[in-house]
Amino acid sequence: MLDLAFWLLFLLIAAGLGIFLFASEEDKSVVSLVAVFSALGGVFALMGYTFLGGIYVLLYAGAVVVAFLMVAWLVSGRSREGRSIKWAFFLIFISLGTELSLIFLGSRSVFRRVSTSVSALGELFLGKYLYVFELTSLLILTAVVSSLVLMRRRS
Amino acid sequence: MSFLLALIVLAPALGALVLILLGRFLGKRAVFWFSPATVGISFLASLIAFTTFKNHPSVFYLFPWISVGKFHVDFSLLWDPLSSIMALTVSGVSFLIHIYSVGYMGEDPGFRRYFAYLNLFTFSMLLLVLAPNLPMMFVGWEGVGLCSYLLIGFWFDRDTAADAGKKAFIVNRVGDFGFLLGIFLLFTLLGNLDFQYINSRAASLPTTAATAAALLLFLGATGKSAQIPLYIWLPDAMEGPTPVSALIHAATMVTAGVYMVSRLFPLFARSGLALEVVAWVGIITAALAATIALVQNDIKKVLAYSTISQIGYMFTGVGVGAVSAGMFHLFTHAFFKSLLFLAAGSVIHAVGTQDMREMGGLRRKMPITFWVFTIGALAISGIPGFAGFFSKDQILAQAYLHSKTLWTVGVITAGLTAFYMFRLIFMTFYGEPRGWKHAHESPPVMAIPMEILALLSVISGWFFSSFHQWLKPLGYIHLEELAHERELILMGVSVGLALAAIVLAWWIYLKRKRGLRTGFLYTLLTNKYYVDEIYEALFVVPYREGARAVSRYFDAGVIDRAVLGSGKLTLEGGRLLSFLQTGLLKDYALWMAAGIVIALFVALRGLL
């Protein structure tokens, strides 16, 4: 049962990457990545890193890809109605669905190959790796500021 | 005694120094008096030394010069029969010519410079003559070369004079190259360069080494004494003032070669071949120069070729072993040849041109010069009673004993000598005046020295036997005996030829009024057998053009370009590599990816 799910996800990722590499339009390739990342989140969940799986799906499939999608449309200069939008939503819906179900299964110790607890993770971040944690936050701050500066209209 | 010798040499040197440094402050009168005086002192000193000093030979040490390891050369002076004779002749003739120059160069603006160089010349010549070893002689040797350069090119604003001076110095320098190599060879052979040491050890030298050294030294002698092959500079040296030609190119410098060969006679004798070479070069030069002199129209050029010819005789004399005969001819030649030049000088001074075709009929206008010139001509032609006869016949006699052909060439040349001398007299003094407007006899200051020299060119001939005895102590002086009647026959032949030549000259130049004008022989002779042109083509032009070509193509072309090329190499290399900098991110990423793959491959190669 576990291997079946894994190979299913493997296929999904491979297909997604195939589309990503050879899609003629940019937004098609960007959208295909949503599937890839959510499937990857699934794999993490299968491995037992359910928390990570969840983060992956939220961060990548949700925020990053969508942001890129928006810039992609900005690039092509016209808002994209028509078939591809619907097609995109359908894909996103499918991947989210499978992902959520896997997370539920994961949490129910059926595939518990790895025992991880989010609280242990928290202690780690605020204990041993406090500096790392602070540094990354600083990094993110500079990234945001710099992108704002970059985007300022030159006087 | 060493003070006396030092005085002989240093008096003219002091004179030259004073004239060079303080010349500007000395008036004309002071210079005219001072410069001949210094040479006069040196003449008196050598006279005193000649008469008082008996125990020959002796070397007087003055001060050290170079000493490196076992090589020692000091400034010292040698006084022996040979050098005493030379010192006397040189200082005597130089003194007379200094007095003559007062008249001749009186008006020339550069007279201070002239007298300074003349003094410097006398100093160098005396140094050459009194040197006890080869390096010291070489100092005098080059010194006279320098002074001849300065004096030939005295009127330096005339290009021909400057060229002639430069030519003289360079040709002499070629000779000195041989001289130097001779000195080095002798040093490596013997380790010591004193004449007495060389002469004493000459017998022990291997013949080939002795021949090589002798021939190299003889190359130097041919350079200085204007023999084949290095005689080309003497005719051009006539660009200088006439007294200079009289002193340097007749009496003293050109005889240095003969003196050197006689000084190192044992070395030459050791290698029989060298003596043969000396004899034959001498006689051939004599003959060649005499033929050229036949057709020269410049009065000084005639005398110049005559000098080359007479020196050829001297070398023949020494070459056949009769050193005293050769030296005696040198002794007498110094007087009558300088006399001839001075007389020619007074003619030029009077008429203003050197071309005989514009002279003629000067006999009445310049009686003293005419008579004095005739005495000189008689002496040089070997007419009995005059100096030339005694010395030349002695050489011819010895030559006869050595080899018949040598004698025949010698006699014929004697005939030619008589011919061209009297051709000169008839063209300048006889016949009707051509071209010159007015001519005046030379002032006493020029006439007296000529008269003294005329006297000397007559009486000096009678002292051959005492001259021979005087040189005996040198050890290598001997004369073969000649059957008395055979000697008379030879004398008869040569005198007969001379008289015949005079008559022939009289018939051609006075009776028919015009000499040889055309024909292949005439053009060949006037162009001096094209020797100058041959040398130019053989040495000067290839050297100049070759150097110019090498300079343009090799020096600038190859080496420089190679140097600059290496500079360009780096530039081109840089441009070559710049194609990598395409500016496109993708390419840079590609190099990076390629780098990673290679690195991985190398790292994993161990594992696979």
């Binding site: - | 320098l146 060229d163 360079i170 190599l181 080095f184 040093f187 050297y543």
Partner: protein, 498 residues
């Protein structure tokens, strides 16, 4: 004391910095004063030098960077005479440029003083590292001298000069590293290095590296093309010091470093070096014969004269070796004098092209007289200094290698040819340009510059022993070292240090 002498010019240069630019006269005479002081220093050394002690004297040592790179100066006979030559030529070169240099005088005199320190340093350095530092340091002022006050193509010439020399000396630096590594407790002291035995293979490479650096400096035949350019573009003072001193460093480098450090390799390369020296003599003379620019002619004549010097040094017979060193001094004086005179000529006629010059002996008799004396000294007329040097070199080399000596002696003729031709084209014949007839003759300052040189020509020509004796012992020692007579030198030398 030696260090005081070397660094006096630098001190003078630093003091000059504080002098305001406008006071050019003060700058000139101050610089001249400093340079003359250095000359009197060198005189003191010359007189107090013990000619019978072959090893360096007036030695001063100090720890500097440690690891064998320490400050160690001293003078043996050979260094002494070269130091005196430098100390003599510098003030003369300085004095000759009072009217020659019109803009940026202050910097000019500072550069000259710095150059003087560099030059002196090279001759007194006893530590290879210190030698290299002075060797390179001397290039910088020379670069500015030619670069800023030179003729039209000065940038081209100076860059070519510096790069050419730099390439050579970088190879030498590599050699120095090798020696440093292999020398016992990393000492770079010359006499310690002489007793170092180096394997054959690396000795060949090392000798090539050192020989190249010095051959460029001499300059020997194929490496000479920088010299004519550097000379035509350099100002008078630059040319005088470049020809008078810098070229001697090549020869000095050979006899002090390249030959004694790698004797076997030197023996191996001897035939090629001899060939180069002889070619330099004849090639230099031939090139000089066809030059149109007076300075280029003298530059090529330097190539020829230094060919004679190197021939003498390579052949290692006592006479030729000492003759070579003596000829170095003569060449320094006579070529220095030639450049001074050509400079004075250039100040008046503003051209060096011999086609435009001619018959200048009429308006400039005194200058013509000095030029004649200098020409005859450089031709090697007996009685003047050139003859003694050339005679000894040819005499000595004739004992060792007859053919090389005979070929080299040809130079005697060729040098007369091109120098007399130059004298005739410049001084004799008719004046080509009427303006030249009214040229002013030499003033007192110029005469005072030339007089000491002419006195030296005669003094070194008539009584050479006075100078020869000073460096005879040291020359013998260097020869014996090059011929591998001493095995462990350091112990021997240590005892006798003063």
């Amino acid at each position: 004391m030696t260090s005081v002498m070397i660094f006096l010019p630098v001190a003078g240069a630093i003091l000059l910095l504080f002098v305001p630019r406008e006071k050019t006269d003060f700058v000139k005479y101050f610089a001249l004063g400093v340079s003359s002081a250095v000359f009197f220093f060198s005189m003191w050394f010359f007189l107090n030098f013990n000619p019978y002690y072959p090893f360096p004297q007036f030695v001063e040592r100090a720890r500097w960077i440690g690891f064998g790179l320490n400050y160690h100066v001293g003078m043996d006979g050979i260094s002494l005479v070269l130091v005196v030559l430098t100390a003599l030529l510098s003030p003369l070169a300085l004095a000759s440029s009072f009217r020659y240099i019109k803009e940026r005088e202050k910097e000019f005199y500072i550069m000259i003083l710095l150059l003087e320190t560099g030059m002196l340093g090279v001759f007194v350095a006893q530590n290879l590292f210190l030698f290299y530092i002075f060797w390179e340091a001397m290039l910088i002022p020379m670069y500015f001298l030619i670069g800023m006050w030179g003729g039209e193509r000065r940038l081209y010439a100076t860059v070519k000069f510096v790069l050419y020399t730099m390439v050579g000396s970088l190879l030498m630096l590599v050699g120095i590293f090798y020696l440093w590594k292999h020398s016992p407790h990393h000492s770079l002291y010359f006499y310690q290095l002489y007793s170092l035995s180096i394997p054959w293979g690396s000795q060949i490479l090392l000798f090539l590296a050192f020989a190249l650096a010095f051959a460029i400096k001499v300059p020997l035949f194929p490496f000479h093309t920088w010299l004519p350019d550097a000379h035509t573009e350099a100002p008078t003072a630059g040319s005088v010091l470049l020809a008078g001193v810098l070229l001697k460093m090549g020869g000095y480098g050979f006899l002090r470093l390249a030959m004694p450090l790698f004797p076997q390799a030197f023996k191996f390369f001897l035939p090629y070096l001899l060939a180069l020296a002889v070619i330099s003599i004849i090639y230099g003379a031939a090139m000089a014969f066809v030059q149109e620019d007076a300075k280029r002619l003298v530059a090529y004549s330097s190539v020829s004269h230094l060919g004679v010097v190197m021939l003498g040094i390579f052949l290692l017979s006592l006479r030729s070796y000492m003759g070579g060193i003596y000829q170095m001094l003569n060449h320094g004086l006579s070529t220095g004098a030639l450049f001074l005179l050509i400079g004075m000529l250039y100040e008046r006629t503003h051209t060096r092209d011999m086609k435009k010059l001619g018959g200048l002996a009429r308006p400039l008799p005194v200058l013509a007289a000095f030029l004649m004396i200098t020409v005859f000294s450089s031709i090697g007329l007996p009685g003047l200094n050139g003859f003694v040097g050339e005679f000894l070199v040819f005499l000595g080399s004739f004992e060792v290698n007859k053919t090389a000596a005979a070929l080299a002696a040809l130079g005697v003729i060729l040098s007369a040819v091109y120098l007399l031709r130059m004298y005739q084209r410049v001084m004799q014949g008719r004046v080509k340009n009427e303006v030249f007839l009214k040229l002013p003759d030499m003033n007192l300052r110029e005469v005072l510059i030339m007089v000491p040189l002419v006195i030296l020509f005669l003094w070194m020509g008539l009584s050479p022993n006075f100078f020869l004796k000073k460096f005879e012992k040291s020359a013998r020692l260097m020869m014996e070292i090059t011929q591998q007579k001493y095995k462990t030198l350091y112990l021997f030398e240590n005892g006798g240090e003063r």
